[in-house]
Symmetry: C2
């Protein structure tokens, strides 16, 4: 037998106890004063630590972000940040001040430009940009946090946490950290004697800090029906009649955008008249979109599981426990890990919008100077090769894509891009080359940031029609199918009219009239709600929109 090394096997646990020892004087039990938060982090953290500072596209551990950004870089430096979202100014400040050096993340909304700058000037050493569950997966593999700084609604003295409707990433982060001898610090809105429910057991939590104000939540999934255009309504009608109805899509995810909001608001009107109730859109992996309220109230929706919550929706969801997942306390339980898995493996369709689409159908939300990150779309918008259960819509998509090998029928997930041919500022959506290619060159990224690869996209919906890429048999056909719905963009004008005509005859391309739709019927009267106020009415005043969405 080979001689084994002499080695200790509990170095992580020893390090944990040393960290706890350094921080002991700052805590009473598990409680630390908010004013001592920076001192706590300085005591706990060691250079090179992997740190997850909880933040995604919604909830933010903002007190802890401020505390970390205020740390002394002589004591806390070269951290490796591994977290879903780079969203708050403090998330960048941590890099600017040298407290952190390396970054692995998923999503950056408002900070996309700052991240690109920080990469450019060497302030950030980029690991990779991930999808949410890809980063979560690495928490259990090679990016396990040494320290997790998380946010919850309430804690009790034992450190049990109530994360409330915005549970989101918390259980996934805490499990990876706590069970690998890491340290978990929670900011909470309030410390109470008795929690309404326990989302995180106290023995996984080391420190709790009562914050001076509730943790920040961004209302990212609210779209005001007042801003939905008739073009978007036409596209929504085409999607419902040409895709939802044709494939009988029952289990789905909607990305965020006015196109999908329009679809949600047409379910109780246009789709109802088509007799589709109960036949489409019954089960959802979805953030709590306020624009789905009319469909829920009209009895369209069986069940919704949520990645996170949405500002203003909590009371409505608590009053609809047959639809949403709620706890014994009555409030929503969200969970991004579970919901992303539902989106990957249990949904038959993902539909969302994007900024750019190239001739292969690759899409990107990157602009020349911004790294937006991926969030969840690459996961939801991917055909899961590990899926083994059938559904009618999945099989139909698979048959359309099939090369005729009948013995080996396989299904396909429907991955739909719904876009206007020209986006904000009249920038063309369809391009020969994604801006992300140039960005990748400039920043020397290993991979071009592509949101969804063309080979996973099955349909593109624009105001000109639907391109069904499943029915394309060659790369050239795909290109012409894309050009054929690209309108008056340069890509659209570069179409081969004869080929596009043939594709239309083969129903690869379908115009509104091919679907029996008259664009003149696409009016705002079709929307079940035409304003935020209408949504509040539908909700019987249970939906309480944030003030920026109120004009009454």
């Amino acid at each position: 037998m080979i001689q084994t090394e002499v080695r200790s096997w509990d170095r992580q646990r020893t390090a944990r106890h040393e960290r706890l020892g350094r921080a002991a004087s700052l805590a009473k039990g598990k409680q630390v004063q908010a004013s001592d938060a920076t001192a706590l982090l300085e005591a706990l953290l060691q250079p090179g630590d992997r740190v997850c500072l909880e933040g995604d596209n919604q909830k933010q551990a903002d007190l802890l972000a401020r505390a970390l950004a205020a740390a002394d870089p002589a004591r806390v430096h070269d951290l490796h940040i591994v977290q879903s979202g780079i969203v708050l100014p403090e998330h960048l400040e941590i890099f600017e001040r040298g407290i952190a050096r390396k970054l692995d993340f998923s999503y950056s909304g408002p900070q996309g430009a700052s991240i690109a700058r920080a990469l450019n000037n060497g302030r950030i050493e980029l690991g990779a940009i991930h999808t949410y569950i890809e980063l979560f997966a690495r928490y259990y593999m090679d990016l396990t946090p040494h320290v997790a700084l998380i946010a919850a609604v309430q804690a009790d003295a034992q450190g049990n946490l109530y994360t409330g409707p915005n549970t989101e990433d918390t259980p996934t982060i805490v499990e990876a950290t706590a069970f690998k001898s890491g340290i978990v610090v929670a900011q909470v809105n309030r410390i109470v004697d008795r929690l309404p429910r326990v989302d995180i057991p106290g023995d996984q939590v080391d420190f709790i800090i009562e914050a001076d104000r509730p943790f920040y939540v961004e209302p990212l999934f609210t779209r005001d029906p007042a801003s939905i255009t008739e073009t978007q309504i036409l596209m929504a009608m085409m999607a419902i009649k040409g895709i939802y109805a044709e494939y009988g899509v029952k289990r789905l995810n909607h990305g965020i955008g006015f196109g999908t909001a329009a679809i949600e608001l047409l379910l109780p009107t246009f789709a109802e008249r088509l007799g589709l109730k109960g036949k489409i859109a019954t089960h959802w992996a979805l953030n709590p979109h306020p624009t789905l309220i009319p469909a829920i109230e009209s009895g369209w929706v069986e069940q919704i599981h949520c990645f996170g919550s949405e500002v203003g929706m909590d009371a409505y969801m608590a009053a609809r426990p047959d639809i949403y997942f709620t706890g014994r306390d009555g409030t929503l339980r969200s969970n991004r890990m579970m919901c992303q898995n539902a989106g990957l493996y249990a949904c038959d369709m993902f539909i969302g919008s994007t900024l750019q689409i190239d001739l292969d159908g690759n899409s990107s939300t990157v602009t020349p100077d911004r790294i937006a990150g991926f969030g969840g779309a690459p996961n939801m918008g991917a055909d899961a090769h590990g899926r083994r259960h059938a559904s009618d819509s999945w099989l139909k998509a698979g048959r359309e894509a099939s090369d005729g090998n009948i013995a080996m029928t396989r299904g396909r997930k429907l991955v739909v891009q719904i876009v206007e041919t020209f986006g904000a500022g009249m920038a063309p959506t369809f391009v020969e080359r994604l801006d992300s290619v140039a960005l990748a060159e400039k920043l020397q990224l290993e991979l071009v940031p592509v949101m969804i690869y063309g080979d996973d996209v099955t349909h593109i919906v624009t105001e000109e029609g639907i391109a069904n890429l499943l029915l394309c048999r060659t790369r050239e056909e795909r290109e012409q199918a894309i050009r054929g719905v690209a309108g008056y963009t340069e890509v659209g004008r570069g179409r081969d009219r004869a080929v596009v005509q043939k594709l239309r005859e083969r129903r690869v391309i379908r115009r509104p009239e091919d679907l029996g739709l008259n664009p003149l019927d696409a009016t705002r009267h079709l929307l079940a709600a035409r304003s935020i106020r209408d949504l509040v009415g539908w909700s019987k005043d249970l939906y309480r929109p944030p003030s920026k969405f109120r004009n009454w």
Copy 2:
């Protein structure tokens, strides 16, 4: 505005309270006597309920399975069973007795033949066969359990649960059930005053039953090194030198089998001499394979996250917290959902064996009369199109598969099948047509049960050599590459010798001698452990194999 239906929105919660009311007389607090288990289930369950009776390839809620199988079919009937494993005789008995009718599941080890018979005689109405996380995903979408019957090690009076090393599926099942107004019943080995740690908060658990004996766990991942053949050792040498080393694979999953066990036992010997320590196989998503002990003890392994535990391994893992995920109490925390995600999104390689491979590289573990189910392999053995982070091995595989579109470099997961050309009973592994095709016809399944589709397979390793399918450019090339390593099977003898020779020149096929390996060197002396007893020695007596693996 459209008139909304008059509707109550808490029917599920009302039903829950009615169920609890019917069961109230059987419980003291949350505690129910084991002798009342059947009465409890009869009180709780309603015809048509979706029920998850916890059981996977390892742990089993066996007391609750017996209790359900003993229920009165006049009272409890037409259940829809939604659970990972159909493993115990009682799982089938439930269908034979008409207590359950419909089945959605993932894995059936020993019961594969019985399931096929029950499908055939109409006793089981099959929903679908899933991978584990695909079924978990559906718990949050359209297969949410009304009642979950689970197993834990300990409970306290409040219903908090310690699931111990075999946490496995429990948190995923409980979350889906408890947060959708379902009922959770836990059998526990012991009710105690104070738990070593809390894995499931008590407010998610309705009833606890102390069982007369610990829940059953199958030692599924133990392979006796004494049974490893020199052929398997040769294949392991090829895999290490021709794949692990060439791609620098650090993050990986091993399926179960003697081929992968041989690889594990060659790391501290053969691979060490190749200078590969620290360069390959450092981070794992893996069940606790005893055959990995020598590599761990030799300092090869940085970290392992586990789907579940393994009989006999608990004390060893508790003593190696730097390697394994353990709780504050010191014992392993496994989690199948998290580990399957790690396998999908954070691993660069999956390697496993199979029973049959066809000319397209599709594989199956189905035999003519058995439905084995899928377990986790289709998920682990799938290229994740949602992955957006790079690694050297992933990029190298992607480059090899690339069609030369450099602007859009994409990586590929390595998916390796390691098989002998002839399996048990000299049945050929390589076949023109999978037995599962005939089975699907016979049972009128919607899909042919395919474990891993050929388009996801990157390498096939046999005793004749390695076929690198990434380098094949046409379907014909793939077929000849497969035939070229298929030995003396009919498929192998059907090769086109000239084409195979050219594939070898292009390094698509590599023989042992092409890798600088002499088959005569493949002896059992290379194994770091040659018996279970050796493994116990390596573990410093911490590994305690079950008696069926002991011969001393």
